[in-house]
Subunit: 118 residues, 4 copies
Amino acid sequence: MASDDPTDAEAACFEAGIKFGSLYHQFAGTPVSPDSAASLETAMAESIENQPHCIDVTVDVLTDELEAELADSSADYTELTGRFLAVEIVVDYEGCEVVTRMEMEDGYPLMRLESVRS
Amino acid sequence: MASDDPTDAEAACFEAGIKFGSLYHQFAGTPVSPDSAASLETAMAESIENQPHCIDVTVDVLTDELEAELADSSADYTELTGRFLAVEIVVDYEGCEVVTRMEMEDGYPLMRLESVRS
Amino acid sequence: MASDDPTDAEAACFEAGIKFGSLYHQFAGTPVSPDSAASLETAMAESIENQPHCIDVTVDVLTDELEAELADSSADYTELTGRFLAVEIVVDYEGCEVVTRMEMEDGYPLMRLESVRS
Amino acid sequence: MASDDPTDAEAACFEAGIKFGSLYHQFAGTPVSPDSAASLETAMAESIENQPHCIDVTVDVLTDELEAELADSSADYTELTGRFLAVEIVVDYEGCEVVTRMEMEDGYPLMRLESVRS
């Protein structure tokens, strides 16, 4: 039987998950075009870096994917969603460093733990 | 030196964090009044329960806090934010159950791990 | 040359637009499934009805469209976006009633003024 | 009795309202600090300028207000809400130009039509 009390590594993973959920659901739906992608990337990263224990956030808005979507369309912008994003977030909680990543896999944006180092 | 590979308990905590960040940043800012609090509670819980590994979500919109805020105001609704919420989320990942809670503490909404059982 | 001062009908149309933009960008991205569609419809309508001058909001989450999307997928929920929504919003500003609607047209969700009656 | 068909000026006001509601409910709740305010201003303006008929968006995140709030707090960031924002949006619909503004008034963020010129 395992103890109920979370370890620092578990707390670090919880914090990392909060950052991912926050980033995704705060910004999903934002109007985005190839021209406005860069400012959105910067704002997403800097806003989430404000959150506690968050060391580094890197956001790539995939402009190739955006351009492919818009080429098939009469519109010149679309709404931000997972298939236009690659994100890496690094959290440090009490000396435990967690690296997490979101990327497309089989057509779905998948958030996953890359590494947990205490 | 610790291994890099996350345990099931760490992955469960990561999943639990995602749900909290999603719930908060999807719904923060929603117009809410004492009359519309109940439907918002239900929708928040049911929407996040759709997410993978999410067993149970309980949302309380604190109508006493809402009424106190509106009593001092000329408005009859406000925007949803952490001080009007108490939330419990239960995640099960590969048999590891994580219970998490958000409540006010010293004037701030605090998300925390309650228990991790593998 | 036209006067600068907005008429009541113009102010009513501005208010109606605010409601539509609010509804869409507050709730786009919400995890939704056929089972959770009904509670989301109710919460969306009741939350936006809190806003000033908003008489009535009707939200249909298009469960047929949801089911068609999910049939092609390994997931059992998706994110709310315009192609799963039909919305009608009625605003009354100083006796001027505006009816607005959002529906798909040529593959895009289109928000439009149905009628303006002063 | 007025006709039902909206004028170009009314449609322009509706479009302007959509932009305001979109901007507010997309970005309300974003973690923000004095250091991240500038990138958020740029991203908010550029994202909403993507929307149809939107000529210009100017966003000021009121860093004085942010700093005053944070001085009373143990946190070094807060969530974006109306009292930290001044916004101007200009829409042109079929030659009709509408200027709209959001500012605090009596403690509430008020969105209003400044001018309508056809």
